[in-house]
């Protein structure tokens, strides 16, 4: 068992950049614990991490039980066999092919899709397609109305019965602070701006698209984040994919986390820089890559890199984990690289006053070079922003692809962001914002604790409002979604390719709008379904993340 005194002395003798002790214990590194009771956990974290972390960092990814992994592979094997059988029958016209097909006149063109690419789509995805793209017809708040749809041909086509299923508890929308409302101050302000300015803008930012509303928004965002200056864009995805190319180019190095979002990956690829990937949230892997990069330089010419950019996210939406920001910043300062933090999910959701992951760890926003985020999740609007020093934003104003070629934000959306941000900051004169942030934190802790007690395997950090619950087997993906809908709870289930093939999961997104009664109802139903589908896999054996092996030459280089 761990001996706190020993690790404390080792630490004071040899502090390292990422706060990790050189003790070499396989069980106590970076604050992971193996099966310790809760009271001891607190002491170990605060002492052990040498003051870089001002609060306990409890993140855990329980190992997949062996039997479950085997059964999952068997399940996929059976599905693949059946897939081949059905394809064979379709090819020999024994079974009707319900796919849309190419035009007669174009039958001799090169086929647009390769048959094998769509194997997964045709044979596995089609069976459980009704868990996704569920149409709703009310505001996506804590409770939502869904349009009922049925399929008579095994999910190839859907028909709407016309009925509306009312008051489904919504655990799928990214509504962290509950600003998705159809009445209230935000909506009234947006309505006023809509009648004054209209819905569209019809011009790019550098031409006629820069309204006075946009200037107001950018000053407010800069104040909210605590940075010198900020710039807002029309779409969160486009913010990443159009601004990373403006910051780095050929001859630069991008170090990106394994599980980064598609927009970050696309932005990195479009920039033309060399990309190297480090294991998820693994600071040893990142440090090794940084050392090697500076010592060995560019791959063939050995010239030094022009600059190094580290891409991380605040909360990773599929894992529910929070980035180890104090260690990343310590590494960044030691190796003189730049940090790009994508706070799509964490802005508004973490931190005592909702300022994001930087406030959550008690750090200064000046340490992060580029703070990026989106307005879609916590602010109930659309669009993205980048905040940072004045030179950075000035440069982006002139060189960003989005400013030159893409439309700016729509005015009522801008007003919604302004009103909701003022509410969170408390500038509208009420304490509604602060109450919501606290409610979200309470909801998160309560929900996670109850689910763990029930015996489910939950991934991620204790404070993250994104809660992935592991399902593993392909059949359970569809079954979980459908059973929960029968009990009037809407959940999101994800499988391959968004997650590794055996780690399919259901993901709950908590909201400040969820009352305790709604959470209790949801927990009761989840408990029932968990018993019905045998989902309670947890044996309470947590595995430290660093024990996952990472091999020495783990980076993949892409130079387009």
């Amino acid at each position: 068992m761990e001996r706190p005194e020993r690790s404390a002395t080792a630490l004071s003798a040899q502090p390292r950049a990422n706060g990790c002790s050189g003790a070499g214990h396989s069980t106590l590194r970076n604050g992971y614990v193996r099966g310790l009771p809760a009271s001891d956990t607190q002491i170990n974290h605060v002492v052990h991490n040498g003051g870089l972390y001002k609060r306990p960092f409890n993140e855990a990814f329980e190992e997949t039980p062996m039997l479950v992994a085997v059964l999952t592979y068997v399940g996929y094997g059976v599905l693949t066999l059946f897939g081949y059988l059905r394809d064979f029958m379709r090819q020999w016209k024994i079974e009707k092919c319900q796919n849309a097909t190419e035009r007669e006149e174009q039958k001799d063109f090169v086929p647009l899709y390769q048959d094998f690419e769509n194997f997964y789509n045709r044979n596995l995805y089609m069976r459980i397609r009704d868990s996704w793209n569920r149409p709703i017809c009310s505001v996506p708040g804590a409770k939502v109305d869904m349009m009922e749809r049925v399929s008579h041909d095994y999910n190839w086509t859907f028909t709407y019965t016309g009925r509306v299923i009312k008051d489904i508890i919504n655990m799928g929308s990214y509504n962290y602070l509950g600003f998705a409302q159809k009445a209230g101050t935000c909506q009234e302000a947006a309505a006023k701006v809509l009648s004054q300015y209209g819905a569209g803008v019809c011009s790019t930012r550098q031409e006629m698209g820069n309204l006075d509303k946009h200037e107001e928004l950018e000053k407010l965002v800069a104040r909210f984040l605590g940075v010198e200056s900020a710039m807002a864009y029309g779409m969160g995805f486009a913010t990443n994919s159009m601004n990373i190319p403006a910051l780095v180019g050929k001859g630069c190095l991008i170090l990106s986390d394994e599980l980064n979002h598609a927009s970050l990956v696309l932005g990195a690829r479009l920039s033309g820089a060399t990309i190297r990937i480090f294991k998820h949230n693994n600071m040893q892997s990142l440090e090794k890559l940084l050392k090697d990069a500076i010592v060995y330089g560019q791959p063939r010419t050995r010239r030094p890199w022009k600059k190094i950019l580290i891409l991380v996210e605040g909360i990773y939406s599929m894992e529910g984990s929070i980035v180890r920001l104090p260690e990343v910043i310590a590494l960044k300062k030691k190796y003189k690289s730049y940090l790009y933090l994508d706070e799509a999910h964490s802005i508004g959701a973490l931190g005592p006053s909702g300022r994001g992951v930087v406030e959550y760890f008690g750090l200064s926003p000046e340490d992060v070079d580029v703070m990026m985020g989106t307005f879609t999740k916590s602010f109930g609007a659309a669009g993205g922003y980048i905040g940072g020093k004045k030179e950075l934003i000035d440069y982006l104003r002139t060189y960003s692809h989005s400013a030159v070629y893409a439309t700016s934000l729509s005015p009522p959306v801008v007003e919604q962001i302004i009103t909701s941000m003022k509410c969170i900051m408390g500038e509208d004169g009420t304490t509604v914002g602060k109450a919501r942030v606290q409610q979200l934190a309470e909801n998160t802790r309560y929900f996670r604790r109850r689910l763990k007690e029930m015996g489910f395997i939950i991934y991620g950090n204790e404070d993250s409002p994104v809660v992935p619950l592991m399902l593993y087997m392909p059949a359970k993906i569809g079954a979980f979604g459908r059973e929960m809908l029968k009990r009037n709870i809407g959940v999101v289930v994800v499988g391959f390719p968004a997650t590794p093939i055996i780690e399919s999961r259901a993901r709950f997104c908590l909201s400040a709008a969820h009352t305790k009664e709604m959470l209790d109802t949801a927990l009761k139903e989840i408990n029932e379904v968990g018993d019905l589908l045998q989902l309670k896999y947890s044996r309470h054996r947590l595995v430290p993340l660093l024990d996952r092996p990472f091999d020495e030459t783990t980076y993949e280089e892409t130079e387009d």
Binding site: L194, K291, S410
Partner: protein, 326 residues
Amino acid sequence: VQEKEELIEEWQPEPLVPSVPKDHPALNYNIVSGPPTHTVTVNGKKCINFASFNFLGLLDNEKVKSAAQASLKKYGVGTCGPRGFYGTFDVHLELEERLAEFMRTEEAIIYSYGFATIASAIPAYSKRGDIVFVDEAACFAIQKGLQASRSSIKLFKHNDMADLERLLKEQETEDQKNPRKARVTRRFIVVEGLYMNTGDVCPLPELIKLKYKYKVRIFLEESLSFGVLGERGRGITEHFGINIDDIDLISANMENSLASIGGFCCGRSFIIDHQRLSGQGYCFSASLPPLLAAAAIEALNIMEDNPDIFQTLRAKCERIHKALQG
């Protein structure tokens, strides 16, 4: 190890961004107060607006605004989720149906940002190893889509069909040398209906002939020509009287004539359905706010009910062209 420490100490990166001179022309934007309609107040001065893409004047149309208000009261502002996870609203489905009906195709798909539409559509079909023939004057969004797709790009001179035919013939001779590879290499031509960079119209009938002769698929980008060309505003296919099924994919954005935000692609279900799982800007991004979708539906209603606005627009264009050319 000592050497490594020294190297790490010595290395100095470039500054993250180069500094921008204070008098850079693009640094200080013009501030527009109030709605950017036909008369606009720029930096405090009242001007006539010849800079916005508000072709049909629907930006401050009262009916469009009231439809958007009704939607705002019902749905709030944001959708809080991508299309796959409770972000599909009935307004989105309605807008897709209306657009498909208006353009007389089988299906349409909506994106939440105009730039992302064509930039996500091209990489969904064209991958590494495929060949794309694109006009030199293609707009920036197309260029980004092509870069993301990693296919081999062949540029032909602007609106020059002879040049394009030459490239296609060269490709044909290459194919004969390696028929196995040619059988799996997809080929596309990407053109715009009305070019943003030059203001010309592309010669679509000749392109259709080349399509069937050399077996290449056509992707047509109609951001500027949707709602402008054609008798009822259906774009360049109506302008030239071409069967819309001959074009594999039409992509347009709703930020010009429809005075909303977002974009759409329309075509046959065989082609469009693929984007619902592999269009990056569709799967990984939040859906269009419902009030903007409702505004687009109302704008579409106005376009269908008043087909004479297109004649008015064309007459005005001809007048200005004649006056400027002398």
